[in-house]
């Protein structure tokens, strides 16, 4: 894989490092991720069976239930949350989930947006990703 570097907008600031988990479809934690394991269960997800724990999670936008932020928070409570979230358009449930993680469990989960789905193509799930939401930067080593 070629070195990969994109700019976006930091919503919840902070830095994170981890393996990429890249979905090109609408994504939700609500009924779609098992909080007790971090495994994606959604049959309509292209990353079904993968684990969000510790990952830099990429998806274009959210879908579905407004309970998504509480499913997100439960993955945090059980220690199975992603390290950071990157989207194309703002997914309010990721923003709210991350804020709740901060105020309830003191955990920092940076959230970035504005990284287009078409740019995910050069990035493979499993690549090591470095993210700095404060600088609006996300990159992967070749």
């Amino acid at each position: 894989m070629k070195p990969w570097h994109k700019r976006g907008k930091g919503l919840i600031l902070g830095r994170a490092q981890g393996e990429a988990l890249v979905s090109l479809r609408a994504f939700t934690f609500a009924h779609g991720v098992d909080p007790s394991t971090g495994v994606v269960t959604d049959v309509r997800s292209d990353v079904r069976g993968m684990n969000v724990k510790g990952k830099i999670l990429f998806y274009p936008f959210g879908k579905g239930s407004t309970t998504a932020s509480s499913w997100f928070l439960e993955t945090v409570r059980q220690g199975n949350n992603p390290a950071a979230v990157v989207t194309e358009t703002v997914d309010l449930s990721a923003v709210i989930g991350s804020v709740m993680a901060r105020v309830v469990y003191g955990k920092e989960i940076p959230v970035m947006t504005g990284v287009r789905r078409t740019a995910y193509v050069g990035l493979k799930s499993g690549a090591e990703v470095f993210l700095d939401a404060g600088r609006g930067e996300v990159r992967a080593e070749g």
Binding site: A30, D42, G64, S65
Partner: protein, 402 residues
């Protein structure tokens, strides 16, 4: 985001612990999404069901309630994970019910309306055009923005309670005129729509609108508000939809040009094959189900009446349970008007104050569910454990009764 002096006081804890907790959440979310200020809301709608809030959510709601949190505006609540009146007879395990009842107590302590429904706009929470509200429940947010002309972002769990306690919400997203414009038009090239078509159509729109606000052209004037309710629920289940412009119905959108602000946007045709593709995606099995579930979102009393007429005189086949989910208010009306008796004579039951997608279906021993709700079909299959069939109410009744 700018905070005025009273809001600064709340953040410093001078107005009590609950408001401080709420302001911490609301100000951080406001900053994250680039809101300029907090604006008053006319009402809130919040979540308090155990299946989705989990233990983390019980912690959050009890923290609000036990630190003196009270709702500052009229606040309604989504269904619980158990039938609050009859949960024992539905076989709900005691320890599961206990966690739900903790959420109920915390919610009641904060002064919310005990409606336990996802169709609060048909029951107890009626904002008018241009009213700003902070609502959870994706299907209700679509109804508020698209039919009532009220303004709500899709407020998710945790933030919902915080907004209700403050009576405020950050101004961004769907509260601003410029973000309410349609960016894609769906052209309905079909006649003779069935009830199921509206649900599949919603799902098709949600899947194909991307992050744009859709407009739907060509709805027949015969469309009912219940059909729009199910259309919106399907759309919100499939994608990030918060509003659909229905020209002639949505306040401010008399025409497609109004909806799109005069701009030329992408057009997508909805054909018979668009809908049959959705049907075959949602319909994973044609086996005889353990459970037939109607009412995601909750059935209105009119819909209960339709079900009663359809099913009158029939008997459920052995091994099949049929639950029709509704609000407590529609439940009461159905009882008084004989609808309940007609439905229950067949072996089916009406369940109120809860809903199928947030019930512990697996723990209740259900392995296959058959429904006419695109939203339920999407959600149940997402958890990956239960097989789902998707068909019209009429077909379902034919299949599971004699």
């Amino acid at each position: 985001m700018h905070l005025d002096s009273a809001q600064e006081k709340a953040l410093r804890g001078e107005l009590g612990e609950a408001k401080q907790f709420a302001m911490e959440i609301v100000s951080k979310v406001g900053d994250a999404v680039g809101a300029d200020e907090l604006v008053p809301i006319k009402s809130a709608h919040v979540l308090a069901h155990y299946s989705s809030l989990h233990d983390a959510g019980v912690e959050v709601l009890e923290r609000f309630a036990n630190s003196g949190g009270k709702f500052a505006v009229p606040t309604s609540v989504d269904p619980a994970s158990i039938d609050l009146q009859n949960w024992k007879s539905f076989g709900i395990p005691e320890d599961y019910a206990r966690q739900q009842l903790r959420l109920c107590d915390a919610y009641a302590k904060m002064g919310g309306m005990r409606c336990w429904t996802c169709v609060q706009y048909q029951v107890c929470n009626f904002p008018k055009e241009r009213d700003v509200v902070a609502w959870a429940e994706s299907s209700a947010v679509v109804f508020a923005n698209s039919v009532l002309g009220s303004r709500s972002n899709k407020i998710t769990a945790g933030m919902d309670i915080a907004c209700a306690v403050l009576g405020l919400t950050p101004r961004f997203g769907m509260l601003l005129d410029e973000n309410r414009q349609a960016g894609v038009v769906f052209e309905l090239g079909l006649k003779g729509l069935t009830d199921l078509d509206y649900r599949s159509m919603g799902f098709f729109i949600g899947r194909n609108a991307g992050a744009c606000i859709p407009s739907l052209d060509g709805l027949p004037s015969s469309v009912t508000s219940d059909q729009i309710k199910h259309l919106g629920a399907g759309a919100a289940a499939a994608g990030p939809v918060t509003m659909i412009h229905f020209p002639g119905i949505t306040p401010g959108s008399k025409t497609i040009a109004d909806a799109c602000g005069g701009e030329k946007v992408e057009e997508i045709e909805i054909t018979r094959s668009s809908l049959s593709d959705i049907e075959s995606d949602l319909n994973q099995t044609s086996e005889l189900p353990d459970l037939v579930a109607f009412g995601v979102p909750h059935l209105s009393v009119n819909e209960l009446g339709e079900l009663a007429r359809l099913i009158d005189g029939r008997k459920l086949k052995k091994g099949v349970k049929m639950y029709a989910y509704t609000s407590s208010q529609a439940y009461d009306m159905a009882e008084r008007t004989g609808i309940t008796a007609t439905i229950e004579r067949t072996g089916a039951r009406i369940s109120h104050s809860t809903d199928a997608e947030i019930s512990p279906l697996k723990a209740l021993g259900f392995n296959t569910v058959l429904t006419n709700s695109a939203k339920l079909a999407e959600i149940v299959s997402s958890e990956g454990e239960i097989r789902v069939g998707y068909a019209s109410q009429k077909d379902i009744v034919e299949r599971v009764t004699s």
